[in-house]
Amino acid sequence: MNAWLLAWRNVLRNRRRSLVTILIATVGCAAVLIASGFALYTYAALRDGAAKEFGNVTVGAPGYFDRDEETPMQFGMADYRALTARLMRDKRVRRVLPRVALSGLISNGDKSVIFMGLGADVAAEAEVRGPFLEIKEGSTRPIAGHEDLPRVLLGTDLAKSLDAHSGTGLTLLGTTTSGGINAIDVMVVGIVSTGWRDIDKRLVYTDVPTAQRLLMSDRISTLSIYLGSVDATPAAFAQLSAADPAHSYKPWWEQSFYYHSVRAIYNRIFGLLGLIIATLVFFSVANTLSMAVVERTREIGTLRALGALPQEIVAQFVREGALIGVVGAAAGTLLALFVVLALPHAGFEMPPPPGRSVGYPLLVNFSLPLYLAVDAGIVALCAVAAWFASRKASRRSIVEALAHV
């Protein structure tokens, strides 16, 4: 008789009990797969967001990323046009966008507020950043009749605080590279949201020439390199930075603190969850098989008398545990796959994460390596639980086992 068939019949010996155990393995497996799939989805979304926010790779002058500037544009780049042209020759590079970091005060005449600004190609930024830079009001284009005025877009919360709308005239105040104070009049053409409340409270977007005029500089802070896909980043980063020692290159993952902190927290939360589930499954299977072992004490004694070694008895129970694991993992995988496929149609929203003003869709990713690892883990866990449950009884005195009622 096939040892696995025997194991299956033994599993079916107490149907209800085995079913409950299989169900626990099923739910445990599905829970781990769904939770990990959700974490993977979140990581992918954050990765996309970070790559869109910073660019796949950011280029700065040497020192820009390591030291604080003592005066504006101390580590600015003057040669950015040539560098942009050179970078654009690389096939993988889709866009190279200049950015000028600036800060100062923004005033509507009655009220002045600190702003953190960005001089950039606003239309191109809005395009590459897609849903990560949402235009809430107005547009990036000039307002008719005011084409000559420098344009700005404000973060939603900043606009609210200044009671500004598209068409409102404001004044930017900033420190120039030489330490003087400079002011320019600007016109609000749009209101945008990054989804980050702290950023939207201070955000001013303007074009590069306006930013440079405010700073009285011909430099920019950084160039953001956009590639075709996030996955292309590591290779492109390595090659671009190796080819250009005169500048400092940073991939998105060195820029995004948020990605790393969320990942660290999620890994810990879901790791703990997985540990709890594994413990639950382990003890459930161990408990079920311990009961089976006790019930079959006399049978164990009989088989031992007939010449079965303890390890052969244990192997039989391990096969039973593994079968419970296989059925549980298979059912759990189907359940998880169903959730993966059904969630996009359900349209559930997650509430905004801390610090953000917008939620995001509740989705779960599928990953073959993840599924294989979790399924193998469940089966192994059940097999080990069976070993744990049967190893003592298999070495027990045969005479005592035979006398067991």
């Binding site: 009989t302 008398a305 010449g307």
Partner: protein, 223 residues
């Protein structure tokens, strides 16, 4: 010819807490190969203990035991298991068949423990099932059989590997007189056919009539 069993001065104590229960008090026993021998005695006289020692499923405290000429006294559990696997069959009072296995699977089990080719295994199982008269019931589960049929399956299971020794502790105690008679006859006939030595414990007077030898055990001492 070497004796199947040669016991000299076998002593066995059970320890119950501080108490020391002597179960076998120096047993000398020679069972010739192929013999059909019964041990008779009142309850608690030590019959099961003696059979367990002979069947290598229990240890003893003093004395020597030669099984078919081989000293099995100092062996560890693994070595004893391998000897049981090859040379010793068991028939139990309450059959002890595996309920999830068919008749055929139960009988085949001892052969699966050894490394026998499937074709030979099948042939042997068919043969022995024919000999115990259960060829037609090979696919049944034990719970679909009568007590007498179950014990015949157990006899087939004990003999299928052509063991040197079959240990049968009260094999007929759960059977009615007529069935018990048939079971004893069958054991005796098949024992002779397979060249197996039978050591049986019983307090059934009717059984002992058919034995080559009947030894009386009283308080751990063989008469």
């Amino acid at each position: 010819m070497t004796a199947a069993i040669a016991l000299r001065g076998i002593v066995k104590h059970y320890r119950m807490g501080d108490e020391d229960v002597p179960a076998l008090k120096g047993i000398d026993l020679d069972v010739p190969a192929g013999a059909f021998v019964a041990v008779r005695g009142p309850s608690g006289s030590g019959k099961s203990t003696l059979l367990n020692v002979c069947g290598l499923i229990d240890s003893f405290d003093a004395g020597s035991y030669l099984l078919a000429g081989e000293d099995v006294g100092g062996l560890d559990e693994t070595a004893r298991t391998l000897i049981r696997r090859q040379k010793i069959g068991f028939v139990f009072q309450s059959y002890n068949l595996v309920p999830v296995m068919s008749v055929r699977d139960n009988v085949e089990y001892p052969l699966l423990l050894g490394q026998m080719a499937p074709a030979e295994r099948r042939a042997r199982v068919d043969e022995i099932l024919g000999q115990v008269g259960l060829a037609g019931l090979a696919g049944r589960r034990p719970d679909q059989l009568s007590g007498g049929q179950r014990q015949r399956v157990a006899i087939a299971r004990a003999l299928v590997k052509s063991p040197t020794l079959v240990i049968a502790d009260e094999p007929t105690a759960n059977l009615d007189t007529a069935t018990a008679q048939q079971v004893v006859d069958l054991m005796k006939a098949l024992g002779a056919r397979h060249g197996a030595t039978f050591l049986i414990a019983t307090h059934d007077e009717r059984m002992t009539e058919h034995c080559d030898e009947v030894r009386a055990l009283t308080d751990g001492v063989l008469a």
